[in-house]
Each structure stands twice: as structure tokens, then as C-alpha cells.
């Protein structure tokens, strides 16, 4: 028989069994643990089996000799006693890191003992523990250690750990493995739950972190500039992350960061942002990109409760102020101009370009440094919408913006030197400003008028640019907004086709002779697309009217049921001039408008003509407007730069001296070149057209408001006054901001016309009248 089966009497008594287990098992184990010897070397397989069998025996004998209960109790007592008498004192006796080391050592030992117990007394775990509703042996082991050792030393252990961490924070080198081991004890003692770790270690740690951050941030905020503060904070955060990753759980890392962010960033944000020389605004103005980027990185972190909001507000205010300054300066200049001092034209261009520059500058900052965050886009939008729509005086921003587009698309002035791509880029920026305009409909009207002049007088730099800008407008406002503009561009195309067809037709039908030597071209426009131009009944010289009727013939053959209405005020022509004495026999060409041409051709048949006879010959009316208009044309031919005609007043009828001037060909006219272009009156938008635009827009708005009211009433049937105003505004705000007073007036008008009525009981309620 081998030693593995000790011969026990039957039944085996508890005392004897336990004595065997104690002497052969626990005692050697404890000795090993104390001396540091590897316990596995102590036991051979036989000894193992012997102890195990003893356990088995004690548990499986027939009642009343079952000793599982006592066994369990004894295990507990043994563990407890050992811990109390040997382990705890040894840990307590040491200090600082030595204490920690001893604790770690003893814990490892205890785990060995637990393993041993688990193996030896496995039977209990399998068959006794559940039935008796007792903790498993492992649980028992954890509890024993915790209650007998850990609880007594945890406070000290914790404070040593915290002070080590503090030292490390200050830059000293500490025993990382030791700290990790101690932390592990806190975790493992939870036996699956992190509650112990959280309560006993994490919470005090986080408290220490908060205190540290508070203290340090107060100091830094006092001493440092904003950028330096941020750099320090960034370092501190990185450091904290490293520390948490080394020692603690992910959960602790998260919580710690939130605390750090709150103390280091959130608590001081406002003060820092507003630092006089290094705060947010100075950084913006100085273009300190990396500092701004760092600010964004830091302050968009989750632990910063106010986040980027305060800075976004400051940004908005700053942009608003800059914009308002530009507006004020422009307004002052304009006032001065209107009073008669200073030069006129380039102020508008400068104004727009300055605003564009401001916009680009801040957009760039938002994109490169501020993470393209939507909040900042909103800030810049609100600022621009606010100052761009301020009243400027005798002009509106809508008009200025449209005029600027006109300059770009005509490539006039300095713009001439830019490439088409560069102009396209500028147009792209203009569209962004356009999106902030509240009076988009007014812009549209001006743009339409200016576009028509560009197209009709061939001032456009490039059709591609025109189309591309219209497309950009379409993307911002929808196709209804740009349909007329597109119609105009298309009309020019179609018109050219008609032109070509006309010439071909002339050739093939040998009608060219009818026109004589006149090279005749017609631009056909679709009425709805173009601004309204008055037609007039000026008498054309026979040669010209013949051209018109020939074209009419052609056009009728090509289309059906179309009426042509001639707008002579927009026509241009070239006259060959002979016989001026000072040209020494050479002829020259004059480019003039149709009206000017008709006037000059009269002088082929007469040397001198009175105003009235000119007027009658041309079939111009007698109204003040007509007379004024004719005078303008005549004066344009008499002006000092191109004095083709000269004017004199007769002394005969003094009272009517106004309308009795005499005109004659100025034989002293000496043209400086062979081709002279007389400036056209219609080429630019004049004051009259501006006012007409404003009036037209106001009227369109009235219609739009009415249509909106009717639409809303139709769908709602009943609605109260305030809601109606709000909904009308919402529907129309894409194009303009309707004035509540105008809306009211329209409502009243619709009541009178019986589209809507007031409710009998409540006069603030409107009802739709079907």
C-alpha cells in the first residue's frame, strides 16, 4: 500500500482528519509562503492525493460523521488566523513603498493559498457550497483577505500610491510596476465587480486630480498668456492620459479627463478668452493659427460644458463690428458725395471688395483653425446678415453688389487685368455675400437691368462667365429666381440664329439691293424676360424703315403670330461722314445710337434746323418728357468732346428761347481718329432707372405678399392675425423681408375684395372666403 491512502479508522473523526490536513497541508504551505519557497516543490503527488482523500472522506462518511460544515468553518478560521497573526503585522510594520511591496507580496501569497485550498477542498465547492448557501472557497478567500488585511491598510496604501503618483506628476521617476500591482489588488478584490476599486481608489484619486487641476490652473491663468496656458493644459492632459493608461481603467481615464477639462478649461474659459493682449480676439486679429487651432482642439472637448459657444459669440461680435465700421465709413462718404464733395464711382466697388476680404479672412480661419464647425459658420452668417442689410443712404447694398458684378462681368477698370479664372473666383465670393442679402429681389432687378445692357451692348467679357454666375444664383435661390436671366441669355443665342438666317435669306432672295449699302442687324428679344423698354414712334429715314419692313417680312415668314415692337432707344448704328473740311478729304465713321443717327441724317437735307422742326420731323411728342429726351440727344451731339453739331439761340422769340434753339453742322469739327464712338445714353443705369427699379420691386413685393396671403388662407381656412404675418414672412424670406405694415395693408385690401373676411366674434381671426 502506498502512502497516499493513509489508513484511517472508520469512521474518521473530524479532529483526526483535520489534524492530518493541518500538518500535512496547511502548515507546510504556510512555511513555504513565509520562507519564499515554491510551494509546489513541497508536495509530491502522493501527499496531494492523501490530503485530498482525507477531505473526501470527511465529507462522504455516513451521517452523523459528515464533517463538511466543520471543514468549511475550519478553513475560514485557518485563513483568518494566518492573515491576522502573520500577514497583517508584517504589512503594518513597514512604511512607504516597502509597505506596498509587502502588501503585494502577501497578496500574491494569499492567491497561492487560495489556489491550493480550491484544489484540495474542491469537493466542498462542488457539492457543499451551494446547498449550504455559503460563499465559494474563492469568495471566502477574497473576503478573508479583504476583511482581515485590506481594510486595515487600505487607507495608508492608498495615500502612498497617491503620493507616488503626485511625485510622478512632478517629474520624478517611480516604480510603475509596484503601483500597477497595488491597483490590481483593488481590482481583484472586487471579485468581478469594480465597486471596490471605484469607491476605494478611483474616487479619492479623482478628488486629488481635481484639487491639483484647480490649484495649478489658477496659478497659470494668473501668470500666463492665453497661448502659453493652452500649451500647458495640453501637456497636462496628455500627461494625465498617459498616467491613466498606465495605471487605471478606461473608465477612470474618461472620468479623469472630464474633471481635468472642467477645471483646466471650462472654469477659466471666459477669463482667458477675454485677456486683453492674448485673448481670443487678439489671436484672431493677429492670425495666430496654431494657437487658434489648439484652442479649438481643447475647448471642443466633452468636459468643457460651455464648449465653443462663448468664443463663437465673440467671433460674431468682432465680425459685426468690423462690418459695421465699413458700413459707417461708406455711409459717411456717400453723404459727402451727395452733398457735392468727393468723387463717386469707385466707392461702391471698394465697399464690396472690403467686405469680401473680411469674409474670406474669417472663412479661412474657420476652416483651417476652427474645425469648420457649424457654430462658427452660423456666427459669421449672423454677423454679415446683420450689417450687410443696414441702410446705407441713397443706395442699397443690393444695388452695390449688383453693380460690382457688372464691373466683374464687363471686366472694366482694373478688373481688365484679371484672368477669367480669377474673375470666376471673385464671382464665387460675391455669391456668398449675396446669400446674406435680405433684399434679394431688389438685387435680382438691378442685375437683370445691368445684364440686359451688357448683352445688348456687347459688354460681356464672356458668355460662360455670365452663365456660370446665373447658375450660382440658381443654386442659392432656386430656378424661378433665375428663369428670366436665363431667358435673356438664351434670347441672345436665338437672336443670333435669326440674324444669320436673315442674311442667308437676303442673299438667296437677292433682296440685298433693297437695303442699299446698309448692313442691318436685328436683335430679337422675348418680352417677358427683359426689363420693360419703351418703344417710340420716331420717324426713321426711309432707308432705315425699309430695312425694318424687310426684316419684318423675313421674320413673319419664319414665325407665326408674333408681333415685333421696335425699341429704337437701344439701337446703335455707324455713319460714314464725308465732306468735313478739316478732315482733308478723308471720311470718318461715327458710332451713334439710332436717335442720334436720325437727327444727324436730317442734316443731309438742311444746313440749319430749329429744335421744333427737328422735333416735328422725327415725330417726337410735345410733352415735357419727350422734349427733355430729345434735348438730351441733341446735347450729346453738341458737347465739347464731339461737337458735330453746334447750337445757337435766335433772338427773335425771347419767351420761347427754351425751345427755339438752332442747330447746324459744325464744319469746324476735327475728328481725332477715323472711328469715333459717341457715348451712348442708355449704356448705364441712370437715376431714373434706379427709381423705376425700386418702384417695380415694391410693386412685385405687394403682389408676392398678396399671393402668399391667399395661398396660406386657402390652405388654413382660418388663421389669426399674428400667425398669418409670421407665415407670410416665412414664405417670402428667401427673397425679401416683408414689412408687417405692408402685409396688413394687403390683408385689408383682400378683405375689401372679399377674398377673406374677419370672424364675427373675434376680429383678429381671418377666414377664407371660398
Amino acid at each position: 500500500m502506498s502512502n497516499s491512502f493513509p489508513r484511517f479508522p472508520y469512521p474518521l473523526s473530524f479532529e483526526e482528519g483535520w489534524s492530518f490536513i493541518w500538518n500535512k497541508g496547511f502548515l507546510p504551505l504556510q512555511q513555504c509562503l513565509e520562507s519564499g519557497m515554491d510551494s509546489r516543490k513541497k508536495y509530491g503527488a502522493e501527499q496531494w492525493m492523501a490530503i485530498y482523500n482525507t477531505v473526501y472522506t470527511l465529507c462522504t462518511q455516513k451521517p452523523p460523521h459528515i464533517y463538511a460544515d466543520q471543514l468549511y468553518v475550519s478553513i475560514k478560521e485557518t485563513e483568518t488566523q494566518y492573515l491576522r497573526e502573520r500577514v497583517l503585522p508584517s504589512v503594518k510594520s513597514l512604511h512607504d513603498e516597502f509597505k506596498l511591496k509587502e502588501l503585494v507580496h502577501r497578496w500574491e501569497n494569499h492567491k497561492v493559498m487560495m489556489r491550493w485550498i480550491r484544489k484540495i477542498f474542491g469537493y466542498l465547492d462542488r457539492f457543499y457550497v451551494k446547498r449550504a448557501q455559503k460563499p465559494t472557497l474563492d469568495e471566502l478567500g477574497y473576503n478573508c483577505f479583504r476583511d482581515n488585511v485590506f481594510q486595515a491598510v487600505k487607507a495608508e496604501a492608498r495615500s502612498i500610491v497617491l503620493s507616488l503618483l503626485e511625485k510622478e506628476r512632478m517629474g520624478e521617476i517611480v516604480d510603475q510596476l509596484l503601483i500597477q500591482s497595488v491597483v490590481r489588488i483593488f481590482v481583484e478584490l472586487g471579485n468581478g465587480s469594480l465597486k471596490l476599486y471605484t469607491e476605494e481608489l478611483e474616487t479619492p484619486y479623482l478628488k486629488a486630480v481635481a484639487e491639483y487641476c484647480k490649484a495649478v490652473s489658477n496659478r497659470w491663468a494668473e501668470e500666463d498668456s492665453f497661448p502659453v496656458y493652452m500649451i500647458r493644459v495640453e501637456e497636462a492632459l496628455e500627461d494625465e492620459v498617459r498616467r491613466c493608461k498606465t495605471y487605471f481603467t478606461e473608465q477612470t481615464e474618461e472620468r479623469s479627463l472630464l474633471i481635468c477639462e472642467a477645471e483646466l478649461l471650462d472654469a477659466h474659459q471666459l477669463k482667458l478668452l477675454m485677456k486683453e493682449h492674448s485673448g481670443f480676439i487678439p489671436l484672431l486679429l493677429q492670425g495666430r493659427k496654431s494657437d487658434l487651432a489648439r484652442w479649438y482642439r481643447l475647448f471642443s472637448r466633452p468636459g468643457v460644458s460651455q464648449g465653443i459657444e462663448p468664443a463663437a459669440e465673440m467671433l460674431r461680435t468682432q465680425i459685426l463690428q468690423e462690418g459695421n465700421d465699413v458700413v459707417k465709413a461708406f455711409r459717411a462718404r456717400l453723404e459727402q458725395n451727395d452733398k457735392g464733395g468727393g468723387e463717386k464711382s469707385s466707392h461702391g466697388q471698394e465697399f464690396i471688395e472690403t467686405l469680401m476680404e473680411i469674409h474670406e479672412r474669417y472663412l479661412e480661419v474657420i476652416i483651417t483653425c476652427l474645425g469648420s464647425h457649424a457654430r462658427f459658420y452660423r456666427a459669421i452668417k449672423e454677423a454679415f446678415e446683420s450689417f450687410l442689410n443696414q441702410p446705407l443712404g441713397s443706395v442699397t447694398s443690393a444695388e452695390l453688389l449688383s453693380t460690382y458684378c457688372d464691373i466683374l462681368l464687363k471686366a472694366s477698370g482694373e478688373i481688365r487685368h484679371l484672368s477669367e479664372d480669377a474673375i470666376e473666383e471673385k464671382l464665387e465670393k460675391v455669391v456668398k455675400l449675396f446669400s446674406y442679402l435680405s433684399e434679394k429681389d431688389l438685387f435680382g432687378e438691378f442685375y437683370r437691368k445691368q445684364l440686359s445692357k451688357r448683352l445688348l451692348f456687347q459688354r460681356s467679357l464672356s458668355e460662360d462667365l455670365e452663365r456660370s454666375f446665373i447658375t450660382k444664383l440658381k443654386m442659392t435661390c432656386g430656378s424661378q429666381y433665375t428663369s428670366k436671366l436665363e431667358g435673356m441669355v438664351t434670347d441672345m443665342h436665338l437672336s443670333r440664329e435669326v440674324q444669320e438666317g436673315f442674311h442667308v435669306w437676303l442673299q438667296s432672295n437677292a433682296i440685298q439691293q433693297v437695303l442699299g449699302n446698309i448692313d442691318f442687324n436685328v436683335t430679337v428679344l422675348t418680352t417677358g424676360h427683359w426689363p420693360t423698354y419703351k418703344s417710340d414712334d420716331i420717324y426713321l429715314p426711309e432707308e432705315l424703315s425699309r430695312c425694318l419692313s424687310v426684316f419684318q417680312e423675313y421674320y413673319d415668314s419664319r414665325t407665326s403670330q408674333r408681333k415685333l415692337r421696335w425699341v429704337h432707344s437701344l439701337g446703335v448704328g455707324t455713319l460714314h461722314c464725308y465732306g468735313f473740311p478739316l478732315t482733308k478729304g478723308k471720311s470718318f465713321e461715327l458710332q451713334v445710337s439710332t436717335h442720334q443717327m436720325c437727327i444727324l441724317l436730317l442734316f443731309n437735307d438742311a444746313e440749319r434746323l430749329s429744335f421744333q422742326s427737328i422735333r416735328k420731323s422725327l415725330n417726337v411728342g410735345n410733352s415735357e418728357q419727350d422734349v427733355e429726351g430729345l434735348k438730351k440727344y441733341l446735347n450729346s451731339l453738341c458737347n465739347s468732346k464731339y461737337p458735330i453739331l453746334s447750337k445757337s439761340t435766335t433772338a427773335i422769340h425771347e419767351e420761347n428761347a427754351e425751345n427755339e434753339e438752332l442747330y447746324e453742322i459744325n464744319l469746324k469739327f476735327a475728328p481725332l481718329s477715323r472711328r469715333i464712338k459717341i457715348p451712348l445714353l442708355m449704356a448705364r443705369i441712370n437715376q431714373e432707372e434706379k427709381e423705376a427699379t425700386r418702384t417695380a420691386v415694391d410693386e412685385d413685393r405687394r403682389h408676392a405678399i398678396e399671393a402668399a396671403i391667399v395661398r396660406i388662407m386657402k390652405s388654413r381656412r382660418t388663421i389669426d392675425h399674428q400667425r398669418l404675418i409670421v407665415e407670410v414672412s416665412q414664405q417670402l424670406m428667401q427673397l425679401f423681408n416683408p414689412d408687417p405694415k405692408v402685409i396688413k395693408a394687403r390683408i385689408e385690401d383682400l378683405i375689401t375684395r372679399e377674398y377673406i373676411e374677419r370672424d364675427e366674434q373675434n376680429s383678429s381671426l381671418y377666414k377664407y372666403v371660398a
Partner: protein, 199 residues
Amino acid sequence: MKRADKKALLELFQTYKEPLGNYIGAEGLQKLFEDLQVDPSDIVTLVLAWKLRASSTCEFTETEFVEGLANLQVDSLEKLKRKLSSLRKEIEDPSKFKAFYQFVFQYSKEPSQRSLPAETAMALWDILLRGRFSLLDSWLEFLKNNTHSISKDTWNLLYDFSQLSETDLSDYDDNGAWPVLIDDFVKWLKKEQPNKHES
């Protein structure tokens, strides 16, 4: 109550009607009011028109006159005279007054027009709202320089406005649903008499 004697009413009608038409015209009305001993600018003449459901001013058709008076249990001049005082009482009731007031607009305007000339409206208001509208004189003063014609909506809402107590003007909301003319009136009033109507 005996039913009204329509024959008698017809005879009455004949007394006053136009020689060439089947209606009582301006002259006839003048005589009628004389006989009733009522001033033509007395409000009760309008109340009568209301009760008779007359459709246009200075005119009673045969039906309006005969049927209307019959409905009032009146078939003689005497009875009509007596009736007048009860008519006066009737319009003391605010709800009756409102209906009557609104009627007067329809009655007074040209059938082809949609609104009432300002002068006519002013004269009517003087009759109708005298003693019922504390700001009447200011309103009439304001209108002198201000407008050509009065829409039905403005007419109707003026009554609601007149029923606001004077102290309410400080709460007057010019972004509310009041007609623009009344908004302008309040603005004018506040400017003219800043002490009285400040909030």
C-alpha cells in the same frame, strides 16, 4: 294686437311717393320727417331705415315701406310717431346697435362702390357715435387731412375700437389686426396729445 292695415299703409305710401316712380325719394322723405316732427339728421331716421331694411339711402321702395311698417305693427303716421321712441330705445342695446351700425355702411354707400366717401362717413359717425365714442372729435379731426374713402372693414372695426376704454390705448397693439387707418390714428393721437395717452 290688431294686424297692420296694409291698405292704410299703401295710402300712406302714395302720399309721399315720387310722382314718376314707385318709391319715396328724397323730397318725400323730407316731408315725411317733417310730418313726424323729426329732424332729418336725427339718428332715428337711420334706425327706421334699418328696421325697414331699406337698401339705399334717401329712398324707400313700396315693399320696404309697406311691408316694413307692417312688421312694426304700424299703419298710421301717429303709430309711427310713437314707434320712433321705442326705436330709440332699441339701439341702446349694444348688440342691436352693432348690427344697426354695420347696416348703415351698406345703406349709405353707392351700390356700385365698395367704400364710402370720407365726408359721408364722417357725417354719419357724427350722428351715430356721438356720445358713444369718447375720441370721436379727435377721430374726425384726424380724418380731415387723411383719407379719401372708408372701407367696410375699417367702418366695422371702428365700432369695436370705439368700445375700447380710453385707458386701453396704452395697450394698443399696432402689430395687431386693427386696420391700418386706425393704427395711423392712434399714432397721430399719441403724437398730438402725448400726455393723455402715454402708457
